[in-house]
């Protein structure tokens, strides 16, 4: 990793509940924070943020550009390191598009049936958003 730091590269690590999925370097990392996309560069201010559904994109670095779809996670940005905790993380081409379409329909159905329960709306919105992002990522549009 010392080599990366000298080159002004960020050490990027993507950790899922199952394993450490990625351990690489990058010049810049785009992150789907819950409040919108943000980009971390070398020397960024320390930040802790929640991630929503979307794509983590790595630019430059030793292993070139890479994309990962993540759904809910958490990120720690330090000046020379970005560590991403993601509940679900996969390559866009691993996405089960048919499953996502089914989830989208489920999300809409749950929203329609939520009635007066705020928590159910939140849950339905979460499912819908994840499914939408999944479809967009699978289609390479996000």
């Amino acid at each position: 990793m010392a080599e990366g730091i000298q080159n002004g590269l960020l050490a990027v690590r993507l950790v899922t509940p199952d394993r450490v999925l990625l351990d690489a370097t990058a010049e810049a990392v785009e992150l789907p924070s819950a409040a919108g996309y943000l980009e971390a560069l070398y020397g960024a201010a320390p930040l802790l943020a929640e991630l929503g559904a979307g794509e983590v994109r790595l630019h430059g670095g030793t292993s070139g550009d890479q994309k990962f779809f993540v759904a809910w996670g958490f990120v720690e940005v330090l000046p020379e390191r970005v560590t991403i905790l993601a509940e679900t993380a996969m390559h866009p081409d691993e996405i089960d598009r048919a499953g996502a379409v089914a989830d989208l329909a489920l999300g809409h159905k749950m929203w329609a049936e939520a009635g007066d329960d705020g928590a159910k709306y939140d849950e339905a919105n979460e499912i819908t958003r994840k499914a939408e992002e999944e479809i967009a990522s699978a289609d390479g549009k996000s």
């Binding site: 450490v20 930040l47 958490f74 509940e87 007066d116």
Partner: protein
């Protein structure tokens, strides 16, 4: 007395059995190795999540300053009237006392709690536990209501629990052990949290076989909710193994070349411990209270995930030990049968010689 032919047949049959148990032992050893690796690989995530939570605890007020009331529902301790017990056993038998021991520990806990007049909800994981409890107890019953209002434009659904007996089976998880993935465990945790939040249950316990290494194993009853202290396992009771069981497990592991001690911490795990704890002033993207509320249910899911992974490893270890013992017993049986066979054969030969000699003497 059995004749030589019968004995030879029996020896052949026992030899076949020994071959099967030997193969099963090798398969279990391979599965154990993989399960151990999975449990290790899952640690960095759990550690990081815990670190973030701990750092958030320092930044948020968990208690109302004036009333001293706990602000997050998962931390509130209520009087325990209805208890949920998640029992994690295995999908298959042939694992020595694995399933029975978990069942015994669960039963002991259930008996102690029902004696106090508390209601028990069971949530078995694994075919063995599900089969056992479903035969014995009724499933929980929910009355579903549907209310229409605003000229049928809006509908309100609600399901209300109608308790019939003191012990009921609230949910079952048949597929969870087949491929323990985090998504399914999260769904299970969410469901439990929902029931906890609407006070259908007042506390949650998991009964499972804790597995740190082949050496360090025990059956524990662990409190999952309410969370008493982050990062600590609240063990209600634990059943240690007997020395005999431990020795058998060590013998089986060593014969397959599996380390009996806990593997060393990986580089990732050591680094995971530092996550979110750098001596800097972090910028928070959201209010720490909101983050805390979002993270806590996930923490519960990781606890559950860990219990499942450890239980899976323990099951394979138990099967490996059982099949190792079976292989050894088969070997002993073959030895003893061979001895008997030789004796019988020798006796027959001796008898024949005596007959010939006596015949010759009579001439």
């Amino acid at each position: 007395m059995a004749n030589v032919l019968d004995l030879r047949r029996r020896i052949r049959s026992v030899k076949n059995t020994r071959q099967i148990t030997k193969a099963m032992k090798m398969v279990s050893a391979a599965k154990l190795r993989r399960a151990q690796e999975r449990a290790m690989a899952a640690r960095p995530y759990a550690q990081m999540l815990l670190n973030v939570l701990e750092s958030l605890v320092r930044r948020t007020d968990l208690y109302n300053e004036e009333t001293g009331e706990v602000l997050h529902p998962l931390l509130v301790e209520r009087e325990e009237k209805n208890i949920l017990v998640v029992v994690i056993a295995g999908d298959k038998g042939f694992a020595g006392g694995f399933n029975a021991n978990v069942g015994k520990a669960a039963q002991k806990f259930i008996n102690a709690r029902t004696a106090k007049g508390q209601n028990i909800d069971l949530e078995p994981v694994g075919k063995k536990a599900i089969g056992f409890y479903k035969r014995k107890f009724d499933a929980a019953f929910y009355e579903k209501t549907e209310e229409h209002y605003d000229n049928d434009l809006s509908t309100h659904y609600e399901s209300i629990r109608q308790r019939k007996g003191q012990i009921e089976v609230a949910a079952e998880h048949l597929e969870l052990l087949l491929r323990t993935n985090f998504e399914d465990v999260t769904a299970m945790a969410r469901d439990i949290i929902k029931r906890y939040e609407r006070a259908e249950i007042d506390s949650v316990y998991i009964v499972y076989n804790e597995f740190k290494s082949v050496l360090q194993q025990r059956i524990v009853v662990e409190k999952l909710l309410p969370i008493r202290k982050l990062g600590e396992h609240t063990i209600e009771s634990a059943e240690e193994r007997t020395d005999e069981e431990r020795d058998a497990a060590i013998r089986a592991a060593e014969s397959e070349g599996i380390s009996v001690r806990e593997p060393d911490m990986t580089e990732f795990e050591a680094e995971a411990k530092k996550f979110g704890t750098a001596d800097v002033d972090y910028i928070f993207d959201q209010a720490p209270e909101d983050l805390f509320a979002h993270l806590l249910p996930r923490y519960v899911a990781t606890q559950l995930f860990h219990a499942l992974l450890e239980s899976t490893a323990a099951e394979h270890a138990a099967r490996m030990t059982a099949t190792d013992a079976a292989t050894k017993n088969a070997g002993d049986l073959i030895d003893s049968l061979s001895l008997t066979m030789n004796r019988v054969r020798q006796a027959a030969i001796t008898k024949e010689i005596i007959e010939i000699v006596s015949g010759a003497a009579a001439l």
